[in-house]
Amino acid sequence: QQKPEGITIGYLNLVNAQLVTKALGLHEKSGVPIKWVKFGSGGDMNRAVAANQVDFGGVGNPPFTLGATRALPYKGIFVLNMLGPVESLAVRSDKNIKSLKDLAGKTAAAPFGSTTHYLFIAALKEAGVNPTDVKLIDLSPSDAVAAWLRKDIDAAWIWEPNLDKIVKNGGEIFLTSGEMAKRGYPTWDVGVVMNDFAAKYPDQVVAYVKAECQGIDYWLKHPKETVDIIAKELSLPPEDAERMMKGTTMVPCPEQITKDYLGTPGQIGQFADTMLATATFLKDQGRLPSVMDRAGYAAFINPSYLTKALGK
């Protein structure tokens, strides 16, 4: 089995151990030239996948569900990160918002198509609030800050580092993505590989996952150094980088193949359930024409490379 001439890795504009892997050059150690391409959103990543422009990538659960339902040729192979307080719903502290019900009639923002958009609707539904009672608008995190400062919006479910700007300007954290995960709505980003690439170079995929696992280990063992890496990679102040790290959960590789995450080949874990839930949500939203069953989504998760990498 030969090695590929080069590998294109698409990575997301957010904080996780992949930045460590990139900064430490862990993939480059395999000797294959690596091209790193940064994507602003999972939607852009999906487009690149559809155009067969990357070999590896990363997407959040809504774009992954979307891609799976529309049969994009990729598989989820490891957990990039679980989203905790790095993504939170912040509300205006002086508006006396005690429960989600108090948001009725207020204007709130979330970037549509993102994990927070999904969580926002889910949270409202769970609290018995009709989502249409809240004026939910599509704003990117930076625009949400601008709108917040102008007092155009009273709540926003966005992520760091912009979340902090809202909190510092009269906002308070009301609900975090981590809490939603505990209530059964986990949100995550998953690393994916293109089907063609995996079929041609399975060993390379295993090596890739192995290197990612090293990055995760480094993150967990050397938080201080990681802060510096992240700050440098994203051109952010270290405080922001540190806060963002704290809000993001890295799952050690051995844990990833438990039922709470990917599961094992043949017995896919909770990620498939999340996908099904997300698909149902998107369908309700009118943004997905149809929904597959759980098995359909499970077929898009392939933990076998990870098990091989872990030597099991």
């Binding site: 559809a50 994009l72 625009d143 601008a146 155009d152």
Partner: protein
Amino acid sequence: MSVVETAREPAQRAARPRLLPARLRAALPRTRLLTALTAATLFALWWLAAHYAWVNPLFLPSPKAVWDAFVRTATVGYQGSLLHEHLIASLYRVLAGYTLACLVGIPLGIVMGLSRDVKAVFDPVIEFYRPLPPLALYTLIVMWLGIGDASKVAILFLAALPPLTISSMHAAASVDPRYVKAAKSLGANSRQLFRHVFLPACLPGICTGMRISLGFTYTVLVAAEIVAATAGLGWMIWDASKFLLGDIVIMGLFVLAFTGMALDFLIRLTERALTPWRFR
């Protein structure tokens, strides 16, 4: 019939073979036929590409799928608004931004054309911001004007302004001074000069600027609507593209294109109405 040939043209016309009877030829001029043929060919290619899946159907849905999306959006709606509501929301923004730009840009341009001093003040400002992509300005504008229609209208306004101002300026600066002389020697005072001579003399140039400006403004529609919109053609396309809804995207593109052509046609009519002497 080329310009290179025009010198011989009128007489040669007589020699052209006539394949169709006169009445049919009048109804179906050659160029119309060719245009129709082009459209038909492109459509056929699209149909074939979709039918034989030469292209991923996610991005190039079949004509049928696009038509279905059209019907669905027109009757059921997309994200809570019917197609015509999206259209109206967009048209309102475009026309509001454009009209405002006309109200500001045309007088400003005229004054700039008349006075070198005023030009010296405003010209660098306009030349400076003109090359800036509207997308790059957009967070700043949200900050100033919020997430309502105001910020969208402002982006469209900013896009519409430079072509209007620049062409009004040129129009005003190039008014034939002989008309001014003639009017003065006929006893016109400054106010009369402006109203009866200056303004109509500038109108053709201003109309051209209005046409260019409207076309340009229209291409900024999506950029203007990606912020906090809940309806609008541009937003619909943007939103649908996030969710890989190719049929909605293509359908939206068609609606945009036809609306754009219709607006261009309308402004040509306006031009005719405003400067009838040029079309006699």
